[in-house]
């Protein structure tokens, strides 16, 4: 692939030069973004007018254009990155950016930050960009076949295009704010598309669930984002990175500060029982969290929501209610990997916080294991794939958690190919079998849908990690190896634990994916009778009018005896492309063991994701041949074993024994089996501990607070206009008098205020030490008496000076800050006097007493 890239890059040097001449004006990025937005607008507002064909062409063309521009931009970037540099000069960062306009200013910490609407293409966003637009284009093409009989096609493609736009915002945005805009945008589109067939209550509920669970995560993102910006003084990734890369960086010091309210948190978490063991535990754990750790943790909470990790994964399996191409695009290939992308994007922050990294690694590994265990026994095609996605995302997070960000992203990339292929294949199966997706009803499809079968086979081979020839093997191997080789500075056991869990997870993956494959494509088709001889009226279905269906609506036509049929080329050609990618995508990441050098992939991402010398990636420094080799051989052997065991078991159970051992096992271990079928009953648990109390609280709020308190308040307020209304009915002139009286009263109040209550704006400045300068602004003929030293005594004489400097007396503030109080008596032009005072914070350093 690298050869392809470089040769293409050589073809385009002139154009590349032309376009990349102005680093901040690389407008191709703008074209990449605007193209799907245009599609969304056209399809959303004029979809009905331009008709079905028009919608298809608009949707596919806009996203396809976006992909072509992305390819072009990527090659330009590649060329920039590999441009010859002067002798001895360091290679600058490969980066293309496009400033659309200045956005707004935001106060951050002490200063103000100018935010720009700026998009950046660097190595990291480059690969994500290609994955998103590439897979996106294929799925748009596929969708034109899949949705060909749905009434809401315009709405569907408008949402899908809007999703592409939001996702591109998320990837290309150069600041956390812009990323968050995209983050929310994809969430919204996901919600709209899950509930696409909203007339079905169950589907609508699934959409709602996804939305609500993601909101929980979003709170985390906002918190993390705010803390990070506050402590580092910027929202832009590049700015934070630069702030952290300085030696003895202030930003890093700020991030490493411990919040002062740690003990308060511990107090609440132990329910106020300070003498309990719980409190001791929290007091031990929480101090490990600095502000930066908290920021990273909260951002990770956001990732668990968006990327379906424990404990917020529950929405993803339900999200399969949406049309299958949506599941492939949003809930497998792109949106759900946004969390991994965010971690990689901020990897330079994360590597400073080993404890948070350990949490990420463990959560990822547990999710991989947990979801795979559920997938073992599920009977619905898409459910298995959904849990498989959750599990594979767990692999990616585990990789990030052990510091192997590039390996995590590598898996994002390969997974996008084979999982999209699997989902689209599942869609093709359902399309062929009239929306049947229960594994118990399928079987023997090998002969009916040969294209689907071939591609599904290849993608399955990739996901189970068939050695040496598939992409899944290389990405999984890289993760296992890096997990084994990693050494978390605070928790050394994490690497080994993650390795063991992931190997177990990989074994289960191999098993359930083979089970899925065998039950779907081998054996006898059980859906409905296929014997043509039984049906004298049997007509060979033609490709023009055979029944297309989709997940929800049944076939309007088609005979009951029609066999499953292969789908039109618009549907299987994308499958072939994805299947091909599932094989060749891996060769950019060949392991060190084979080539004795850093892989193309690792080399490309080294600046974005490898941060040597930081606690979490320490292993990189001690990487020596024998050690690396031993770890790599172990990892590869383990991966091979997982593949072999999973495949062999499935082969034996489902092909050799026709599923008999599985039936025996499930009946002999009934409770365990049932628990797995019920997905560990997590939904029920959440229902019990979260949903029901919440529902109770909201009912309480609706019945009691809203009805009595709010309505009461509103009614009370309503009395005012109603009183005037009543007056109005009685007498027309009386009202104007009332109005006039109110004006007069208001005027009297204002006079009273300026005459009897002298006020002055007071401002103060600490001049260092205990010196302060105070300034007041009153009105004409105002006079002031000062008490700077805070002894409560004012001079008898009032002066007209509005500014006074002096030494103040330090006060003990409860939270240990140095403060002092200054007071001024103000006499206004009417001779009335009042006292105003202000507490000033003194600089801590110069007084030396802190």
């Amino acid at each position: 692939m690298s050869a392809v890239i470089s040769s293409l890059a050589q073809v385009t040097p002139q154009i590349g030069n032309l376009v990349s001449a102005h680093p901040d004006r690389y407008f191709v990025l703008g074209l990449i973004l605007i193209s799907p937005l245009l599609g969304a607008i056209i399809n959303g507002f004029f979809g009905k007018k331009i008709g079905r064909e028009g919608v298809y062409i608009t949707a596919v063309a806009t996203v396809g254009m976006s992909f072509l521009f992305s390819l072009f931009a990527y090659f330009t970037l590649y060329k920039t990155a590999h441009a010859p540099v002067a002798e001895g000069a360091a290679h600058g960062p490969a980066q293309l950016s496009y400033v659309v306009w200045d956005w707004f200013r935001a106060p951050v910490g002490a200063g103000t930050v100018q935010l720009k609407l700026r998009y950046v293409l660097d190595e990291l966003s480059g690969v994500m960009l290609l994955v998103v637009t590439g897979v996106g284009t294929l799925i748009h093409i596929y969708s034109t076949g899949y949705m060909s009989h749905d009434e809401g096609y315009a709405r569907y493609f408008a949402y899908l295009n809007l999703f592409m736009f939001s996702m591109l915002n998320l990837i290309l945005g150069d600041s956390m704010v812009l990323l968050f805009v995209g983050w929310e945008g994809v969430g919204l589109c996901s919600y709209l598309l899950i509930g696409f067939w909203f007339t079905n209550t169950q589907y609508a509920t699934a959409g709602k669930k996804a939305f609500i669970v993601n909101r929980i995560g979003d709170v985390g993102v906002i918190l993390g984002m705010t803390i990070l910006a506050w402590k580092t003084g910027g929202f832009e990734f590049a700015k934070i990175r630069d702030a952290l890369n300085v030696d003895g960086s202030n930003a890093l010091t700020a991030l490493n500060e411990k919040p002062e309210f740690n003990d308060v948190v511990a107090y609440f978490l132990s329910f106020g029982r300070t003498d309990s063991k719980v409190f001791e535990f929290w007091m031990k754990v929480i101090p490990e969290f600095s502000w930066g750790g908290a920021a990273c943790f909260f951002l990770f909470v956001g990732c668990t929501g968006k990327s379906a990790q424990l404990p917020l994964y529950v929405w993803l399996p339900d999200a399969m209610a949406g049309p299958t191409p949506v599941s492939a695009l949003i809930h497998a290939a792109t949106m759900v990997t946004a969390g991994v992308y965010l971690l990689c994007r901020l990897s330079f922050v994360y590597v400073h916080f080993p404890t948070v990294m350990a949490i990420i690694a463990v959560i990822g590994a547990l999710t991989a294991l947990f979801a795979a265990s559920i997938a073992l026994v599920q009977n619905e095609l898409k459910k298995v794939l959904a849990y498989s996605t959750v599990s594979q995302l767990g692999f990616m997070f585990a990789a990030c958690g052990v510091g192997a960000f590039s390996a995590g992203l590598f898996h994002v990339y390969t997974h996008a190919m084979f999982k999209a292929c699997l989902f689209l294949g599942a869609g093709a199966v359902m399309h062929a079998c009239r929306d049947k997706q229960d594994l118990r009803d399928l079987g023997g499809l090998k002969q009916f849908t040969p294209h689907t079968f071939r591609t599904f086979l290849i993608a399955t081979a990739a996901i189970i990690g068939t050695p040496f020839v598939t992409a899944g093997f290389y990405s999984k191997d890289e993760i296992l190896f890096r997990a084994l080789a990693s050494q978390n500075a605070n928790h050394a056991w994490v690497g080994k634990f993650v390795f063991a869990a992931l190997v177990a997870g990989a074994t289960m993956t191999a098993f359930y994916m083979c089970r899925l494959l065998f039950l779907t494509f081998w054996g006898e088709f059980k859906g409905w009778s296929l014997n043509k001889e039984d049906y004298p009226n049997y007509v060979e279905p033609s490709h023009d009018d055979h029944g297309h269906g989709h997940d929800d609506h049944g076939h309007g036509h088609g005979k009951p005896w029609d066999p499953p049929h292969e789908n039109p080329p618009v549907m299987y050609i994308p499958l072939y492309v994805l299947a091909g990618m599932s094989v060749i995508a891996g060769f950019v990441g060949l392991p060190y063991l084979f080539t004795h050098k850093e892989s193309v992939w690792g080399q490309w991402l080294i600046r974005s994701t490898e941060h040597t010398g930081k606690p979490i990636t320490e292993w990189n420094l001690v990487m020596t041949e024998p050690r690396v080799h031993s770890a790599e051989i172990t990892a590869m052997a383990a991966g091979f074993a997982a593949f072999a065991i999973g495949l062999g078991l499935a082969w034996w159970i489902y092909l050799s024994q026709k599923g008999e051992p599985a039936r025996k096992l499930s009946s002999s271990m009934r409770p365990v089996y049932q628990l797995l079928v019920d997905k560990w009953r997590v939904d029920e648990l959440y229902d019990f501990i979260i949903v029901r109390p919440l529902r109770f609280a909201s009912e309480f709020a609706a019945r009691v607070i809203d009805r009595w308190l709010i309505d009461g308040l509103v009614n009370l307020v309503g009395i005012i206009p109603r009183a005037f209304g009543a007056l109005a009915r009685k007498s027309q002139t009386g009202v104007v008098h009332t109005y006039g009286a109110v004006i007069a009263l208001g005027l009297a109040g204002m006079f009273g205020w300026v005459v009897f209550l002298p006020t002055a704006a007071i401002s103060a400045r600490a001049d260092g030490g205990e010196r302060v300068t105070v300034e007041v602004h009153g009105g004409p003929n105002y006079a002031y008496a000062w008490d700077i030293d805070g002894d409560g005594e004012f001079p008898a004489e009032f002066g007209t000076e509005t500014r006074q400097s002096g030494t103040c007396r330090k006060l003990e503030s409860p939270d240990g800050r140095n403060v002092c109080r200054v007071s001024v008596r103000v006499r206004n032009a009417f001779g009335h006097i009042s006292t105003i005072s202000r507490v000033i914070e003194l600089p801590a350093s110069e007084s030396g007493s802190r």
Partner: protein
């Protein structure tokens, strides 16, 4: 610019246009058809103001203009920014009126003449740097607007609203005039710069200098002058607060807003408000907000305005909550929006204070006012326009109940109304969000966190009743047998709404750019007001 008279172009266009409209109306046989020309007049005025923008960036030119016009009108960028806002609001409401009046059989030519003269009055008010000019502008616009309020001659409600507005408006004008007279009496000046400079000097009486007791006599004179000045300022503030509909001078608003034909309501809510706030900006911040001089009332009147701001927000929002009529709700909510703008006024004079960061905070607050006015103009015209579009003759959309189920019956109209209501509620990425954001930001930067909090809390209350519009449209079905709003079909209003929505989005997506213009406008505002350099104030002002 060589020809200083060109500075008058926006106002002149409107005046000449107004007279022409009168003539055309008198001689044309059939009523109607004047809406588009009137709107074009407004847009031409806006274009003229836009064209003048580059020429208003030069302090020397501004000073010459100041002298040439006797210090009556300022032609700085603040004026131009306000002129553009006013012309935009006037033009868009006229477009709305064209379809509205025809639909409701109210088409009479004087509507357009009145609105054109009122807009000219608004521009005079916004540019006035002399109390007499300010009063003339105020009355020019008021008389037009009184007549517009009572335009539905057959409707008792319209007549009632107009009469109330007129009576109370006269009261407020009297207060303003009385305050102006007192200021003149105390300083011998009617121009704002002169008043400021006079107040900056101590009272001197050369005639009796050296005589026995002269010093005490002068001191008494000084005290009297300052006391009366302060009270006069309060009167001026009250007069202007009436025009912006701030609590406790707001009582006329709901009656007038509800009684007036809806386009006139929109006009009152946006254009009149922009002009009155512009005048306030000039009087309160330009002259009496100079915190460095002893004449400053900066210490006193922010304290006063805090009350007006907080009360306006609170009462405006709470009463809006209880309304069953959407039109009345919008009226009360405009009181609340006035409160948000006043909050920025509180912050603005902190320009030179130690905490305020050397002038930039004060300027950013003043710019927040201008930006808010522009944002409110486009959002509110859109909201009223969508409300007009949602109703037709005999089936008007006035109350919440009228709107029930509109989302299902007429999704496009409902979408438009939702969009503008969301902007009023302050939802990103519409401009309403950034308008409030600027106010909150400047309040925080100037050290008024609690004022920022008040704005946030009140916005939250506001969201409740704004969203109620959407809840009604999308989630409720109309009562069986109830009168439902039936949208009229009007390409004119639809186009206006599309243009307005575009502006709401453009302002919301590029707030920095437009806020930058506002900032430029206020940065250059301070210079022309000080026509003559003030003498150094003596140290012993007492």
């Amino acid at each position: 610019m060589k020809d200083l008279l060109l500075y008058l172009l926006p106002i002149v266009i409107l005046f000449i246009g107004g007279f022409t409209l009168m003539l055309v109306d008198a001689f044309q046989k059939e009523e109607g058809g004047l809406a588009v020309p009137t709107a074009m007049l407004h847009f031409a005025a806006a274009a003229a103001a836009l064209a003048l923008w580059p020429y208003a960036g030069n302090a020397a030119d501004l000073a010459r203009a100041q002298v040439a016009f006797n210090g009556w009108l300022a032609f700085d960028r603040t004026t131009l920014f306000l002129d553009i806002t006013i012309a935009l609001g006037g033009g868009l409401t006229t477009l709305l009126a064209g379809s509205y009046l025809a639909e409701h059989k109210l088409e009479r030519g004087e509507f357009y003449t009145l609105i054109t003269f009122a807009s000219a009055g608004c521009m005079m008010l916004a540019g006035a740097t002399d109390l007499i000019m300010l009063f003339i502008g105020l009355e020019t616009l008021s008389l037009g607007v009184y007549a517009l309020t009572g335009f539905r001659r057959t409707s008792a409600r319209s007549q009632e609203g107009a009469l109330k507005y007129f009576l109370l408006g006269s009261f407020a004008a009297a207060l303003l005039l009385y305050g102006s007279a007192l200021l003149y009496g105390m300083t011998g000046h009617t121009d704002l710069a002169g008043i400021r400079d006079a107040l900056g000097r101590a009272v001197e009486m050369p005639a009796i200098a050296g005589q026995e007791g002269a010093a005490q006599f002068v001191a008494v004179q000084q005290t009297v002058r300052d006391r009366v000045t302060i009270l006069a300022m309060v009167l001026v503030v009250a007069g202007l607060a009436f025009k912006v509909g701030s609590v406790p001078f707001h009582m006329w608003t709901p009656d007038a807003y509800e009684g007036a034909p809806t386009p006139a309501t929109a006009y009152m809510a946006v254009t009149v408000k922009a002009a009155a706030f512009g005048a306030m900006l000039r009087v309160l911040i330009g002259v009496f907000g100079d915190t460095s001089g002893p004449a400053s009332l900066a210490g006193g009147w922010p304290g006063l305005l805090v009350w007006l701001a907080v009360l306006s927000m609170l009462i405006g929002n709470l009463v809006a909550l209880a309304q069953s009529s959407v039109k009345r709700m919008l009226a009360y909510s405009s009181i609340a929006h006035g409160g948000y703008i006043l909050a920025a006024f509180v912050v603005a004079p902190r320009a030179e204070s130690l905490a305020g960061g050397g002038g930039s905070v004060g300027q950013s607050a003043a710019a927040a006012v201008l930006f808010y006015l522009l944002a409110y103009t486009v959002s509110n015209v859109g909201a009223f326009g969508a409300l007009i579009l949602a109703g037709s003759r005999g089936k008007e959309a006035v109350s919440y109940e009228d709107l029930a189920g509109l989302g299902k019956r007429h999704p496009a109209v409902a979408l438009a109304l939702s969009f503008f209501v969301l902007s009023l509620a302050g939802m990103p990425p519409t401009v309403g969000f950034f308008a409030k954001y600027n106010v909150i930001r400047s309040a925080i930067e100037a050290g008024y966190p609690w004022l920022a909090l008040a704005v946030v809390i009140n916005s939250a209350i506001g969201v409740y009743y704004y969203l109620r519009v959407m809840v009604k449209m999308y989630m409720h079905d109309p009562q069986p047998g109830a009168v439902r709003a039936e949208p009229m079909s009007s390409p004119g209003i639809s186009l206006t709404l599309i243009a307005t929505a575009g502006m709401v989005l453009a302002l919301g997506m590029m707030p920095q750019r437009f806020y930058g213009y506002a900032l430029e406008a206020v940065k250059l505002a301070a210079a022309p007001i000080a026509a003559a350099p003030a003498d150094a104030p003596p140290a012993n002002a007492n």
